[in-house]
Assembly symmetry: C2
Homo-oligomer: 241 residues x 2
Amino acid sequence: MRVSPSFSPLYRQIKTLMLDALQAGEWAPGQLVPGEQELALRFGVSQGTVRKAVDELAAENLLVRKQGKGTFVASHSDPRARFRFLRLMPREGGVRDPKSEPLECWRAKAGAEAARMLEIAPGDPVTVVRRLLRFSNVPVVIDEIYLPGEVFPGLTMEVLKSWPDSLYALFESRYGLRMVRARESVRAVPAERAAAELLEVKEHTPLLSVERVTYTYGDRPVEWRRGLYRTDEYAYMNDLN
Amino acid sequence: MRVSPSFSPLYRQIKTLMLDALQAGEWAPGQLVPGEQELALRFGVSQGTVRKAVDELAAENLLVRKQGKGTFVASHSDPRARFRFLRLMPREGGVRDPKSEPLECWRAKAGAEAARMLEIAPGDPVTVVRRLLRFSNVPVVIDEIYLPGEVFPGLTMEVLKSWPDSLYALFESRYGLRMVRARESVRAVPAERAAAELLEVKEHTPLLSVERVTYTYGDRPVEWRRGLYRTDEYAYMNDLN
DNA sequence: AAGTGGTCTAGACCACGTC
DNA sequence: ACGTGGTCTAGACCACTTT
C-alpha cells in the first residue's frame, strides 16, 4: 500500500523548524543554540533525531559544533569564516592579506540584469558599492556590488569605511543578515581602460571576471556582484570532489 | 587522566579498512559492495558503526548508496558522474554536449613542473595527451594532459580514439584507476597563436587557464593537466558553500 | 562534578527494489 | 516475500570544556 507519496523524515522536519528559528533571528549569529537534549524535549523527538538535523545544518555551515562547549550559529565575524567565499589565493605559497578600500557607494534603480539576479522588479531601488581589494598593498580585485535597497537601508560610504574588514560581517551585525551560500560564474575578459588603471595593469590585460549571486536563508538572493581579478600573482583555487 | 592523545573513533578505522579494500581493487568501480549487516559481521562492529563509515565514503563520492538495491563503488562510467570535474556550463541555459577529439599523444620525460605536480622525479617517463573539446560542434577547450608513464602504460592515440567520451572512464576500465578528487587553479591568459587557431578566436583573446591536479585513492596525484577555455558562450560555474 | 557534543550499540520499523 | 538501505529510539559510555 502506498502511504506516503511525499515522505519527509522527522529529522528533516526538525531541520526546517531550526532553519525557521535561525531565519527569524531567534538564534543570532555567534550565539549558542540550545543543547541537543533541550531541543529534543522542545520538538518531542529523541536526541538522535535532533542530532541528525544539526549534522546537516553543520554540514551546510549554518551551525558550528564545538565539543564540550555546545553548538553555535555560524558567523562571518568568526576569523575562520572571514574569507569563506574568496577563492583567490597566492600562486606561490605565501599568505593572503586582503585589505578592502571602498571607492564609491550610490543609490540607483535596478536594471534588467540586476533585477533578474536579485529577484526584484526592474526599477526597484538598489545600492551599488564599488571597492578595491589589495593584497600586500597590491591592487588585485575590483568589485561592483549590487544590493537590494529594501534589504540594506542606510548603507553609505561612512558606514562602509567604518568596517575595515569583511562586508559580510558588516551585513550580519548591522542588518542581521547572514550569507549562506553563493554561486559564481567565472570568465576571462580584457581589462577596460578604467579597470586597468585601478589594477595597475595595461589595457586589454586578461582579467578574471567573477560574477557572484549570494543567498541568505531560504535561498533568497541578497547580493549580486561582479569582480575583476588580476591573476598574475594570484589564482582562483577550487577543490573538486 | 589523559588516556588518548590521538584518539580515532571506531567508524573511522572501519572507513580506513574499506578504503584499503577499494584501493586494493577488492571492490571494483560500479560493483556492489557487501551489505551493511555483512560488513558489520566482518569487522566485528554494529551496523550503525559501519553505516557511519559508509556515510562518509558516500559523502566523498567514493561509494553510492541506492535504497533497496545496495551500496556501489562510484564509477566514472555512471552517466551522472561523467563530467563531474568539468565546471564549464553554457552561460544562457541550454545543454552541455561535449565531444572529445584527441589531437596528439606522445611520450616524454617529466620537466620540473610536471614532476613536482605528479610527485615523481624529473626525467621520469610521462605520457602527454593533447585534445580538443567541442560543445555543439564549437571548439571550446584545449587540454594538455600529463600522465605518469608508470601508471598508464600502453596509452596511444588508437586507444584514445576508441574511447569516445570520458578520459577518466577509460583510465578506470583500462587501468583500474579511479579519480577521486582534484584541485584546480584558474587564471586569465591571452590566447597564443596556436591556441587561438584551434579555438577559432583572435590571437590575444582572453582565455581561462585551468590547471588541474587529479588524485586517486590515498591522495596520490596521477594527472596534471592544463586547459584553455573559451568563455564567450560558456562560463566556469562554481557553487560556494 | 557537571554539562556539552561524540561514539557505539541493539532493536524496531519504514521505504524501496527485486523476485 | 525478502533483502537492501533509511529512520527512529533508548541507553550507555567517552572526550572535551567549564565550574
